[in-house]
């Protein structure tokens, strides 16, 4: 199944959840945020939210700032 992850094309298994996608990239979830098709996915839904073909996934991270 084809998705876009932070502007990069990516093939993933069907029925992959947001949590599984993060695990595949060794991302723990602390300080992370996820938007799919420009809608923010709340953290408590990550494990149940199944990615759909052609989803545009954006991952964000807390960084230093003033």
């Amino acid at each position: 199944m084809h998705i876009t992850l932070n502007a990069q094309p990516l093939e993933i298994a069907s029925s992959c959840t947001v949590t599984e996608l993060l695990q595949q990239h060794q991302l723990t979830g602390e300080g992370l945020a996820v938007a799919i098709n420009d809608a923010v996915i709340v953290k408590r839904c990550w494990s149940a939210h199944i990615l759909q073909p052609n989803d545009v996934v954006q991952l964000f991270q807390i960084v230093t700032g003033g």
Binding site: L5, N6, Q8, H25, L27, T28, E30, G31, L32, A33, V34, A35, D38, V40, I41, V42, K43, Q58, L59, F60, Q61, I62, V63, T64, G65, G66
Partner: protein, 255 residues
């Protein structure tokens, strides 16, 4: 002690976490400053080089984390950034900042007010970075912001209280904490802000870009305390003419 929303702070110095040479140095400066609130930013993750976990060490120090919306050019982008930040840090506290102009980073008052109003309705605890405009600050208070963060000078400019007389009006009129943010380049600037009656100051560049950020953090902490004590004690009024502090006597007249 002062209060923002439902949280009480004993330190009136707030720190920004940007521009430090390393996350460890930032944490050391935070500890040296005694601050209890630190700002953070959010940006798109670089998959090839995700950054270290900044959050856990600050949480372990019981620091209130305040994510900002830096990078947002309008209210719509700021609200998107706010929703991301809320998930990333699991906090509804937010430093709202919208500054589309990269040269002076001046906050856009119209977009900031519009975003503040919507974010309050969405349940965010909103602290807006804003111009030192007394009317705008009142409007931000009226839409439900828990504090205002007017600028002393342009972000990172180290110019001190260029907006001094406007800040005095803002502080006089405010029914909520006024936190002077941006432009404070020296501990004396922070002390001056506190002498005006500011509830707190937020400092980043002046500490992070110092040769010794840990020592500078301590210097700012002392200055903030000194300024607050002076405000509470009541400053003497400036006068044009001299007034003698010692008694005039004529015991030298016989010489």
């Amino acid at each position: 002690m002062f209060q923002i929303a439902d949280r009480t702070f004993s330190s009136r110095l707030l720190l920004g976490s940007g521009k430090f040479a390393s996350p460890l140095l930032m944490q050391q400066a935070v500890r040296a400053s005694g601050c209890q609130l630190v700002t953070l930013a959010i940006k798109r993750l670089e998959l090839t080089k995700p950054q270290d976990d900044l959050v856990t060490p600050l949480r372990n120090m019981h620091i209130q984390l305040l994510p900002n919306t830096s990078g947002a050019k309008n209210a719509k982008e700021a609200i998107f950034a706010a929703e991301l930040a809320r998930e990333a840090l699991q906090t509804n506290w937010l430093k709202l900042e919208i500054h589309p102009d990269p040269r002076y980073l001046m906050p856009d008052p119209i977009e900031t007010l519009a975003a503040a109003e919507q974010l309050v309705k969405l349940g965010f605890v909103v602290l807006p970075y804003c111009s030192a405009d007394p009317v705008l600050c009142k409007r931000l208070e009226q839409v439900g912001c828990v504090a205002v963060m007017p600028l002393g000078a342009a972000i990172g400019s180290n110019q001190g209280l260029q907006t001094r007389s406007m800040l005095q009006i803002i502080i006089e009129q405010a029914q909520m904490p006024v936190i002077i943010d941006a432009g404070l380049g020296a501990p004396s600037h922070a002390a001056a802000a506190m002498e005006l009656g500011a509830a707190a100051v937020l400092v980043n560049t002046a500490i992070a870009s110092s040769n010794d950020p840990v020592a500078m953090a301590g210097a700012f902490a002392n200055a903030v305390n000194a300024g607050r004590m002076a405000y509470l004690a009541g400053l003497a009024t400036p006068q044009q003419q001299a007034t003698a502090s010692s008694p005039f006597t004529d015991f030298l007249a016989t010489l």
